[in-house]
């Protein structure tokens, strides 16, 4: 009997699921070596069927998405119980990712933003309810929690696969390791290991030339008249997160002239990617007077969303204090 495999989609966009399918024919190896026990995006298995499975009967679960709702939390705990190995798969599960940026506000501010904005027609100021009586019966929605939490803030996690989404060649490599373990050809990596990523930062893989940095202007890419194809993007005044971001993607974005946005998370040993990045950029701003510094920072319209684009929910800050207090 083949060992069981599961994949689950919590608070995430679905990109991780697509990334897994992007491994092309490699997906056949997955099928050849595992029995897919549960994968809502790929096949129909009900929650109650998972609940009925024996504990630890699933060998490995790739869990993508953060914990945003009670349903996410229930499934995280359920799959933890049912799985031998629980893998936080992709940025959302590991560090909150874009949904985690909602932690800057409260639940109320999220609803206000989503249901009462200039592009929404909602004169009655309706809000989604967790239960709603309709002629056919009661409709329910899972309650939204006060903050987005990462998987390891809710349950114990065995491995981490970073990336938004993880690169297909890295997913394939992780699957190869799992298959080798199943075949008895390899040992499991140490618990807590980061799989499918490098041990340095994106700069290590970036082919652009680098020099001492003096940033006197931060621009958005469309504001630059000419983009040098050879020189470090940060040195050209683009807010590149590469220096503070874990390697593993082969510097895909900088390769094509787009600054790294930091999706592989913090470099090894770094607790707070946003704080690191902020300190690094602040260190190389080439301005002394407060007004001059402000002028440079004017090129950075959304500092929290830039520095903590992926990592807010797992940072030292984690969330808005009021929201965090409510969660706890």
């Amino acid at each position: 009997m083949k060992p069981k495999f599961a994949m689950y989609w919590a608070a995430a966009c679905g990109g991780c699921e697509i990334a897994v399918l992007n491994i092309d024919e490699k997906v056949l190896d997955l099928d050849a070596n595992f029995e897919v026990a549960f994968w809502p995006a790929a096949m129909d298995v009900k929650y109650k069927e998972v609940e009925a499975m024996e504990d630890e009967s699933i060998l490995v679960t790739l869990f993508n998405g953060g914990i945003r709702t009670d349903e996410n939390e229930h499934m995280a705990k359920l799959l933890r119980r049912k799985s031998k190995l629980l893998v936080a798969f992709g940025s959302c599960a590991n560090e909150g990712c874009i949904p985690g940026l909602a932690n800057l506000g409260t639940r109320e501010s999220i609803f206000d933003c989503a249901f009462d904005n200039p592009s929404t027609e909602n004169p009655a100021h309706l809000r989604p309810q967790i239960a709603c009586q309709v002629p056919e019966g009661v409709l329910t929605l899972p309650p939204l929690q006060a903050v987005v939490r990462t998987l390891d803030q809710v349950v114990e996690v065995d491995y981490h696969v970073p990336g938004c989404p993880p690169e297909s060649h890295q997913i394939a490599a992780v699957l190869d390791v799992l298959i080798a373990v199943v075949k008895g050809e390899a040992e499991l990596p140490p618990k807590g290991a980061v799989l499918g990523a490098g041990d340095t930062s994106v700069c290590d893989e970036c082919p652009r030339s680098r020099d001492v940095k003096h940033i006197d202007k931060l621009s958005r890419i469309q504001e630059l008249p000419v983009l040098d194809t050879e020189v470090c993007l940060l040195e050209q005044g683009l807010m590149c997160s590469g220096p503070a971001t874990r390697s593993g993607c082969n510097s895909r974005c900088p390769n094509v002239g787009a600054p790294c946005i930091g999706c592989y998370g913090a470099a090894p040993g770094v607790l707070d990617q946003g704080a690191r990045l902020m300190a690094a950029i602040a260190s190389v701003i080439d301005a002394k007077e407060p007004e001059a510094i402000d002028r440079v920072l004017d090129g950075l319209p959304d500092p929290a969303g830039t520095f903590y684009r992926f990592s807010l929910a797992h940072s030292l800050l984690r969330a808005n204090r009021a929201a965090l207090a409510e969660q706890e």
């Binding site: 340095t200 930062s201 700069c203 290590d204 001492v212 913090a266 690191r276 690094a280 260190s283």
Partner: protein, 685 residues
Amino acid sequence: MTDKTQQERAGEERIGVYVCHCGSNIAGVVNVEAVAKFAAEDLKDRGVVLARDYTFMCSVAGQELIEQDIHEQGLTRVVVAACSPHLHEKTFRNVCERSGINPYLSEMASIREHVAWVHTDKAAATAKAKAIVNGAVERVLKNEPLEAIRVPIDAATLVVGGGIAGLQAALEVAEAGYDVYLIEREASLGGHMAQFDKTFPTLDCAACILTPKMAAVGSHARIHLFTWSEVEKVEGFVGNYTVTVKKKPRYVDEDVCTGCGICVEKCPVMVVDENFEAGIGYRKAIYWPFAQAVPNLPVLDPDTCTYFIGGKGGCKACEIFCPTVPNSILFDQKEERVSLKVGNIILATGWDLFNARRIPQYGYGRLANVFTSLELERMCNAAGPTSGRVVLRDGQTAPKAVGIVHCVGSRDRNYNGYCSAICCMQSLKLAHLVKERTGAEVYNFYIDIRTPGKEYDEFYLRVMDEGVHFVRGKVAEVSDVPIAPSEEGGKLYVQVEDTLAGLQRRIPVDMVVLSAGLEPRHDSAEVGKTFGIACSTNGWFIEKHAKMDPIATMTEGVFVAGCAQGPKDIPASVSQGAAAAARVLSHIRQGELALEPIRASVLEEQCSGCRICNGLCPFNAISFVAERKVSEINAALCQGCGTCVAACPAGAIQGSGFSNEQVLAQIEGLLRDVAQPVTREPVTA
């Protein structure tokens, strides 16, 4: 963040906590007994085996207390809750070292500066002191033993600046038998002191007391003189500096020239000497700065020399009349670079005069008979342009009334907020000299008279007895326009509020002397960067400690002396020069130096060579290794400031003594609610 290892560590370690009263400094605000009791009882499970409070932990008895406990109670780590680490960290590290514990397994909790001195609410202050002690205990658990870095000391010493402070420093080191390289930007040694006529308060002739020192330096076998030279680059670290000196071309062969002066005599070009003569005298295109110049070598100024101006054609009088063989004039001399190896550096780069033109209402540069104090110094000097006669700008008329304005550019929020320290005494001296030479009525316009030096106030009384007038008030304006019918033309009117008499006065004089303040050298910031030291907001070089270490800087092996560190008079400059030399000699005699092991280092396997850190190090300790594409930190150059550690986006730079674990454990400890009972599980060892 109190993970299992932290718990385990707490079980293994035996920590002693000592709470200092600092007399009533701490005990007056913080309940020190309660803090000690908290540490002894509540922090038992964090490895604290004993906690004591004591009047003065830094006293011999206090130190012995710790030593005794280390021996008898088997302490493995020590926390002292007292003043700031800046003050006594070394004291308690030494106690640990003497008692056989690695000195870096101690930690200070600053409950004086951070608590007692800034709070009045005793209960809140005591709670905060407990939190800080708790943080220190958590941190000390994470401290790692560190070993000092030992570097050998090259005995040769670099002295930058040939003014009185630099001369003294150079002589002291050379007399002790070590080589000194003395670098002077100007063509001769002497600095500003060489421009003065007399020195206060004794009225010694400045040249008479300065030139013997210049001569001694010039002829000393151990002193290697580089005048008309500047330091361009400094590499290395204490004990092992490599200094690149730029020798500007003098157009005179230093080895051949005998200093006979025929070239100077024959040179047909006469220009205003803006430098040594402060703009009131002349020099030739080839010239000595002054008669007693050391070295006794002229220097040719290509900007005014007919031969150079003519595109290297014509004149050549100097070369034609030079009697030496081979000829000493070298029109083709080029800039030279010399590389020197030294172990220590003394910076005595001096000061610039405040530019009095910046205060237009005083009329300097606009009204002919408004002079600066330096111009008057040159005028009083017997070897100066007027041979010691005090005259108006016409060069002939002796003034009948002279006004001396104090604090020009000093103690003025529009210019420099600080007191230039020497102007009061300088003004009194000049008042005396003017009175002595012209018999004129002399008015001193002052805000306060500051005469704190030895025999200084006595000199003030003497000048008052000589009949010099003192008007207490800040001068509003110097004008040559008569406004009352009684006022005659051709005079200068000093408008001042006499704050003692309580009235506005308008005093007619023939000459006004502006006692201009001292400013940092215009290029002090760049010079500081070259030597890896910082300037204060005013621009003076920052000493390591304003009171306890005014000679050293934050860069090991770089010392400051004289006015480069701040305005001061001649005796203070001489003292600092000698003191800096004493510090250098102490380094040299030790042979090698133990450096603080609190340093940053790059974890090469984690460094991606992003080069964020490359431009940040104030001590130039970071370099980029192109072959391996990583940044590297020179451990001996690093002063452990932590700038690069904070800036490294990949966490690839570590600061020993300030690891993430240490800092986070300390924060965790600080944030714990000390009012609540401990909820942690007790640790079984």
